[in-house]
């Protein structure tokens, strides 16, 4: 049944158990409005990545997941995947074609974009991701990690998704590449769901944060107040980010 609400993402009572029996997600409720940027934080193993994989039906548990009002079902997964883009943690997993061009073209081609339009899409995706056009014919293993991250982003942006899920986008990036990526993220118009350990990134980009631990959501609210709550942070294996600590100490 379609829901005519205005939410970009509507997750209700989502539960997921791995084939070997471990419970990964328990009773997840999450509503995200269009254009909103939220962060999902929590210790390792909290289920952040697993949650992201439910956004486009790669994994499916019990409960309901709605994207742009449409409920995820076997029959409409292709449609959903037009609208939801996922950026995975390791660029090597996303860049599997022999050249960058083919990697970026892969998504649009699968969606049925006519061949004549593909070069334009690739060009736009590359510039949106802050990359030079000359990178098109290169092979991904010749690129630096920062470049690979951005190419991965380009592969997802080429599909023009309304919702973007990202798993640790700034991990292993040096300061300059990290800054560059944050600039790009700030310019994106899609609804953003960032799963990350980088709490400074969260402070900069996301006004709302969700705290996950052991498969459940423990807190969902305004970023600054949540992240400065030392008790909450420590109870779930996190720390108050440095910039907030100075403020707390100073104040």
């Amino acid at each position: 049944m379609d829901d005519m609400s205005e939410y970009a993402v509507r997750i209700t009572r989502l539960n997921y158990t791995y084939p070997d029996g471990t419970r990964a997600l328990e009773g997840i409720d999450l509503d995200v409005s269009p254009g909103e940027r939220i962060a999902v934080v929590g210790p390792s193993g909290a289920g952040k990545s697993t949650l992201l994989l439910h956004l486009n039906g790669v994994l499916s548990g019990t409960g309901s997941v709605r994207i742009m009002g449409k409920s995820l079902e076997q029959s409409n997964l292709q449609q959903i995947r037009r609208q939801v883009g996922l950026l995975f943690q390791d660029p090597n997993d996303q860049l599997f074609c022999p050249t960058v061009f083919e990697d970026i073209a892969f998504g649009p081609l699968n969606l049925g974009v006519p061949a004549a339009e593909i070069p334009h899409r690739v060009e736009k995706a590359l510039s949106d991701a802050g990359l030079d056009q000359s990178i098109r014919s290169r092979t991904s293993h010749h690129l630096s990690l920062g470049e690979r991250r951005r190419v991965s982003l380009a592969t997802v942006l080429a599909m023009d998704p309304a919702v973007l899920g990202m798993d640790e986008p700034t991990s292993n990036l040096d300061p300059r590449n990290r800054r560059h990526l944050i600039e790009i993220l700030s310019g994106l118009k899609a609804t953003l769901i960032l799963a990350t350990h980088d709490l400074e990134l969260v402070l900069e980009c996301c006004s709302r944060t969700v705290l996950m631990d052991r498969g459940k959501i423990w807190s969902d609210g305004e970023t600054r107040s949540m992240l400065s709550n030392a008790q909450l942070m420590e109870a779930h294996g996190l720390e108050v980010p440095l910039s907030l600590r100075k403020a707390v100490v100073g104040g």
């Binding site: 790669v58 995947r81 939801v84 995975f88 022999p98 050249t99």
Partner: protein, 235 residues
């Protein structure tokens, strides 16, 4: 482990390099088959093919010592074949050697004047089953990732090694290294599958490749065809 055995000379700029991959695949395969069909007695044909191959080697700009170095690959087989001299005579061995070298040189010319990705595209458009082309593409793409991982594992192991362990222990270590690499490969394949699904993969791999046949290709193909036809008629 060096990675430069792939595409090492593929980015040069010679008359052979700019040819379309299909042209080269067809032409060089035809030449190799032609060489293998040269009747044993006709030395003159061998000479003709030798000259043509040498000319092609020259214009390819691939270093000669590299090409000669590659002949090491057939050395063990030549050694085995030399044991047949009592039955076949030195002439027989010599002919075998010439045939093998000619075919090897032609193969080197084909593979070293073409970027591997171009070669794959050419194969696909010549009708090679898609799954084979896909596998080759993935192999090419992930070979480097895997060799880096295995190098790192080897280094990590070497750091912890003191002297030589007994054979049994060496095997256990090698098995666990290979096993770990294997597991990581499976896990990577799974994540790759998720990434593919997320970008709309539904079992088929779409292909877009621009048609780039030019007059160069026409000239080269006709040249090769005429040459082979002449040699066939000569015999």
């Amino acid at each position: 482990m060096r990675h430069n055995f792939i595409d090492r000379y593929a980015l040069l700029d010679s008359p052979l390099h700019i040819l379309e991959p299909r042209t080269k695949l067809l032409a060089f395969t035809a030449m190799i088959v032609a060489v293998l069909c040269i009747p044993v007695r006709s030395g003159s044909l061998f000479v003709a093919y030798f000259f043509v191959t040498a000319i092609l080697m020259g214009i390819s700009q691939i270093p000669l010592n590299y090409m000669v170095g590659r002949t090491l690959v057939i050395l063990p087989f030549i050694v085995l074949a030399s044991l047949a001299v009592p039955w076949k005579g030195y002439l027989g061995l010599g002919i075998l050697f010439v045939r093998a070298i000619l075919c090897l040189m032609l193969l080197i010319l084909l593979t070293n004047t073409t970027r591997f990705v171009e070669l794959l595209r050419g194969l696909r458009r010549l009708g090679c089953p898609q799954i084979l082309v896909l596998n080759l593409g993935f192999l090419y793409r992930y070979l480097f990732v895997l060799t880096e991982e295995s190098m790192r594992m080897k280094q990590a192991r070497d750091c912890r090694r003191v002297g030589r362990a007994p054979l049994r222990e060496e095997f256990r270590i090698l098995s666990s290294m290979l096993g770990t690499l294997l597991i990581r490969s499976f896990e990577r394949a799974e994540r790759m599958h998720y990434a593919m699904l997320s970008r709309g993969y539904s079992g088929e791999f779409p292909v877009v490749s621009p048609k780039r046949f030019s007059w160069h290709d026409l000239v080269f193909l006709s040249g090769v065809t005429i040459f082979i036809a002449l040699t066939v008629l000569w015999h």
